[in-house]
Structures are given as structure tokens and as C-alpha cells.
Subunit: 214 residues, 2 copies
């Protein structure tokens, strides 16, 4: 522990700055090409430094990726954690959807980094998925089921509800290229976002059947 303490000494100003630049560049590259498709040269290029210089701060490509994923997972589950068992069910779900949608808008690269990781078999996050994530979802699933039992919202499969919220919101980050191709580039990002938010609100609350018919 003493020996380690010497290694864990305070970070230099330069170290601080360069690690940030590297992580920023790596997020850009990894989110675009996935782990195997990304190269250290690309990241170094995007960070505006030489490859050996980059490797002075992170000893391996894997180390950069690992840290990025770690930081990502820290924030990723927050919106779900915030879902309040004592709140108004429909309002809680609507809030959750909106928060997830905001994250897709504000952190699309993080979303794609995660999507790439899952899509390619999640070799580096499997334990988190089966541990932390699963526990949190189990917990919130119980809450949602209880809401249904109490007649505060429709009874439904809470797991698939959560999946469908993840899917619909993250879609706007992960499939951004497709969304833009279909809607046209000219529509502003904010307009798209507001339209999406309005639609998802409607879908998750009322569904699509003709109004007035029950």
C-alpha cells in the first residue's frame, strides 16, 4: 500500500489536460468504429499528439476504453435510479423517458460507445450487466408491477417496458444517421428532439388507438 501511494501522487497540470484530451478523442473514435475498429494512431491524431506520447498517459488501448466505459456506466443508470416509487407513476415514467431522451441528445457519442460494446458481445461489461444493471432493473420492475397492481397505471411487463424506453430513446443517438436521412438534414436538432419527446409521451401514455374509444 505504501509503495502504491507513491504512484498515486497528485496529477500534474499537463497530465490532467492531456488525459482529458485523450479521453475526448478516444470517445470520438471508439464511438464511431468500436473497439477493434479504432486504432491508437487515430486517437492520437484526434488528440493532436504522437502515438508514443499518448501511450505515455495510457499504457494500452484497452486502458483508455476501459476508463471510458467506466465513466459512462457511472452516469448511464442515473435516470432509472431517480425513478421514485412514491411519485405519480405515469409522471415518473414520462420523466424517465424525457431524461433518457435528453441524454441521447446531449451525449450521443457515449450512447454509441455503449451500443457498440453491447452489439459486439459486451466482452468488457458483461459483469456490470449481470450485476449492477440487473439488480437495478429488478428493483424498478417491482415498483412498476406494484403500480399496476394498485391500478395507478396499466398492468404490463415492466422489463419489456424498460427495454422499450431504452430502445426508443437511445435510437435517436445510435441511429442518428438513419433518422437524419429520413427526416432530412435541414430540420434542426431541437425540433427533432421536441417532436420525438411529444410522440413518445403520447405513445407511452395513450397508445395509438383512436381517442374516445375504450
Amino acid at each position: 500500500m505504501k509503495a502504491r501511494a507513491a504512484k498515486t501522487r497528485r496529477k500534474t497540470r499537463i497530465q490532467q489536460e492531456n488525459e482529458e484530451r485523450i479521453l475526448e478523442a478516444a470517445l470520438e473514435v471508439f464511438s464511431m468504429h468500436g473497439f477493434r475498429g479504432a486504432t491508437i494512431d487515430q486517437i492520437a491524431d484526434a488528440a493532436g499528439m504522437s502515438k508514443p506520447n499518448l501511450l505515455y498517459y495510457f499504457r494500452t488501448k484497452d486502458a483508455i476504453h476501459r476508463l471510458l466505459i467506466e465513466q459512462l456506466l457511472d452516469n448511464w443508470l442515473d435516470p432509472l435510479r431517480e425513478m421514485d416509487p412514491d411519485g405519480n407513476p405515469l409522471q415518473e415514467i414520462r420523466n424517465y423517458i424525457r431524461r433518457k431522451l435528453e441524454m441521447a441528445r446531449d451525449f450521443p457519442r457515449e450512447s454509441r460507445l455503449f451500443a457498440n460494446e453491447i452489439l459486439q458481445g459486451a466482452p468488457r461489461v458483461e459483469d456490470v450487466l449481470k450485476g449492477e444493471l440487473r439488480e437495478l432493473v429488478d428493483e424498478k420492475a417491482k415498483v412498476i408491477r406494484e403500480w399496476g397492481r394498485q391500478g395507478k397505471m396499466a398492468k404490463c411487463d415492466p422489463y419489456h417496458l424498460i427495454f422499450s424506453i431504452w430502445a426508443t430513446t437511445q435510437h435517436y443517438a445510435d441511429f442518428d444517421v438513419q433518422v437524419r436521412a429520413v427526416l432530412g438534414e435541414d430540420m434542426s436538432g431541437d425540433g427533432r428532439f421536441e417532436d420525438a419527446a411529444r410522440f413518445l409521451d403520447q405513445l407511452f401514455v395513450d397508445g395509438l388507438k383512436a381517442p374516445g374509444k375504450n
Copy 2:
């Protein structure tokens, strides 16, 4: 044209078999690692042949990928094409959802191949997205809007409706690892599929508000 005709002569039995084996292997590898993350050696390995032998049938890595994407797009849009303007709106939408869900179940690698491509900026399918895909979606969006206008279903943004159908259904193929991690490996694929189908039916038709309340 005459000169080309000579090249387009009938395929040998061996050629037929080997091209199939290669495409099958390539689908496996590309869908797992994306274009840049996949290597010819991996594909050749999976196809049980040497790299130069593989390159006898496909002259470049790109050519294999291109053909796979081409074949994929042929089938991918069929369910949407089949949506009948003269059918019962809600039933047509439910059918569309089910067909897409079946595709996610039966062709998960194709779904992931496409997802990888879009996620990584869609460099090889941009023209299809902005052309064929966009036109089809525009056409069906008009149909859905008309359904709303006639009071046969709720008025809603048809584009975001289509996005949300794509997102929710493809999620089960693209994020399979995550879905399994949360639901547990033990649940059979069929059970998962039926649960998902039932939930999506409920969501898209009735939404989540408590039944009886309008």
C-alpha cells in the same frame, strides 16, 4: 455488354457452395465486429478455407460486405412495404410490429450487421437511406397521417412512430446480450419473444395509463 456476358456465365457447383459458405461466415463475423473490426482471416477461418482461397471468390473484404448489405436491404423493408393503406390501421400496425419482431428473432445477425453499419456512420448505405428508405417511409407516413385524420387511430407523428417500431423490435436483436443479462439466460428465446410481442401490442395500442380512465 458482350464482353461482360462471357464473365457472367453460369456458376459452378463449387462456386455456389463456397460463396454461400463465405457469406454465411462473413455475416457471423461482420455482425459481431463491424466492418473494420472484422478480418478476412477470421472470415476465412469461419468458412473453413484459406484466405487466398476466399479471395478467389471475393476479390476484396469490401465486396463481401457490400453483397451482404445488399441482400439484407432487399428483405429489410419488406414488412413496411406490406403495410396496407386499405387495411385496419391498428391491425396493420400490429402486424408490422410482429413481422419486425419476428425478423429480429429469426435474423439477429442481419439486424446487427445493419446496426453496426448505421452506428458507424453508414458510409456504405447512405444513398439507400436517403433514397429508397426515405421514399418508402414518406409514403407510409402519409398513409398513417391519413388514418389519423379519418379518426381511425390517434393522430401522431408518423415518422417517430415508425422509428419507435424499428427501435423497439430491433432492440431484441441488437441488444440481445443486454436483454439476456437482465432477464436471465434461463428463459427460453420463445418465451422472451412472446412476452415482448404481448407487451408491444399493449404499448402501441393502449399505452400505459390505467385502464378505464380516459
